[in-house]
Symmetry: C2
């Protein structure tokens, strides 16, 4: 893996990853393990977890608990250098129907989580934010200086969490890096959810169901491999005092119809699909210029989308 | 009053003003009454209200209730064209100590309020936002295209409410105007609160207490007369379908030490004061370029700050 060589040797850190056995979180745990960090994974009380970290059993500490259980969260945070938050309770689709629930289940507990980080002496928070819904109705690429105008409750609350991290930095000195991640895809992506079109489409094809395609050639998204995203996010571990916000995408927009063409090429099974207009809940485009983050990884190359989707298919077939 | 002549004749609207007997809300009710609108005031269950609207008794409908009482709020909204929200539960100072309370008491109920507006068929919301804490650590003037980076929970939640209004516009067609108001001052400003330095200082002087001055010549604020602010906000009533966000300030920064000098000139009572460094919870500067709003009021002139402070003193002396 050519990009691995780009990571200089780093000081080992104690890192707790909330949602670390989920899709993106587990790739981050992989990236941490490759760098030799001391890892704790905090997650739901599923027996044996999601299975995403089976290959690392014994290489990390597992704490089973609910994100809303303050005692369990505080115990997991104690003594850690860094807390990474990959907890996901709402999605752009679910929050569109239940905006109040999004404020109650996402915002309040996350702000309380940041407070607990301060109380437990954690030095830095790594926050997985939303590149897809945070900038709002912009056409064309965005960078971190683009005006944020979210209108989807998922993106609204993610941005609000970022602002609360600014508060905790000023008030309590808690460092934090926020990553505004594009449409992450790859192995371990849930196949049965409304968020994550690549995983959802693979799930449909393998189940013999038609794809539901929302949008047209102007509906542009920045598809980024979860493996690439995870590796780039380890940049936060180099300096525990630095604080910043980073776009995390390829900077390249792929239309939903182009994605459909790639699926036709890559899939070895025929499938039907229905094309619908773009949904009101979706931004017209979401393309993330990530120069600020990539400055820290000279020579980094993103995984090719076709190749990445092939790998996702292969993983899903084995899984099912 | 020269500015009154600037208001063209307007279609009478049915307007319910939440917090309409408070400081800024009552000035807005005055401005509505001068234009002949049909007014409902929703407020706390204080016997006879705050006294701010005594001069208008009989000219408006009063609904007594708590903002958290959905039935009372829904009843007040029924049949209204416009709902104006001047409800204030947190301030920059209070929210700094209780960030979670700010999300629970301000954000949730306000989002629910917007939902109720949709359910009751209200056409437009007028939202009093925060010009002082919403832009964050900018030096120099800001306009509506300036990147919003709040770090005080009060400003964070106000901005989040603005974004939820974008959501309700896209999802349900609810129109809304957000006003990012500078440091409003004037008659009826509470004399015993931590928010509103002009009122607080007048209260201290009349009570024989020293002024606590936080900041220096670089701590710049945009002091805007509440009467001017209220009049400018009536611009929302002209078009019930338009939606926008407006800075509402003079565009002129006054340092906290200049304000102190004005108080020395204007006060007929001697007073002591203590100068402290700027508090971490305060922005270095907050100056609001309001050209977009003022375009709608050609020739508008803001009240002179000295004159406005004199009027505030006169009101406070009568009140005490």
């Amino acid at each position: 893996m050519q990009n691995s060589a780009l990571v200089a040797s780093v000081t080992p850190r104690k890192v707790v990853v909330f949602g670390g056995d989920g899709f993106l979180g587990s790739h981050f745990v992989d990236a941490l393990a490759a760098q030799g960090h001391e890892i704790t994974v905090f997650g739901h009380s599923r027996p044996n977890g999601s299975g995403n970290l089976v290959h690392l059993e014994g290489c990390f500490r597992r704490v089973v608990g609910e994100f809303s259980d303050e005692k369990a969260v505080a115990a997991a945070l104690k003594g850690q250098d860094v807390a990474a938050d990959f907890i996901l309770t709402s999605t752009p689709v679910s929050s569109w129907e239940e905006p109040l629930r999004t404020t109650e289940t996402d915002l309040g507990p996350t702000v309380r989580f940041f407070e607990l980080c301060v109380e437990q002496g954690v030095r830095k928070v790594l926050f997985s934010s939303s590149g897809g819904s945070l900038y709002g109705p912009h056409h064309g690429p965005t960078d971190e200086n683009t005006l944020t105008r979210p209108f989807n409750p998922h993106g609204i609350v993610k941005l609000c969490c970022e602002h609360f991290l600014s508060y905790f930095r000023v008030k309590s000195g808690l460092a934090s890096d926020c990553y505004r991640i594009g449409n992450a895809y790859g192995p371990r992506q849930p196949l049965d959810r409304t968020q994550g079109v690549v995983g959802a489409w693979i799930g449909c094809i393998l189940a013999g169901q038609p794809l539901e395609v929302y949008g047209d050639e102007s509906t542009l998204r920045d598809y980024v491999s979860a493996l690439d995203a995870a590796q780039l996010m380890t940049s936060s571990l180099a300096d525990l005092d630095s604080t910043d916000t980073y776009n995390l995408g390829t900077g390249h927009g792929t239309s939903i119809l182009e994605l459909l063409e790639i699926f036709k090429e890559v899939s070895d099974r025929p499938f039907e699909y229905h094309v619908h207009p773009r949904r009101p809940l979706d931004n017209p485009s979401a393309i993330l210029l990530s120069g600020k983050l990539l400055e820290r990884f000279p020579g980094f190359t993103f995984r090719d989308l076709r190749q990445g989707i092939r790998e996702s298919f292969d993983w899903a077939k084995k899984r099912m």
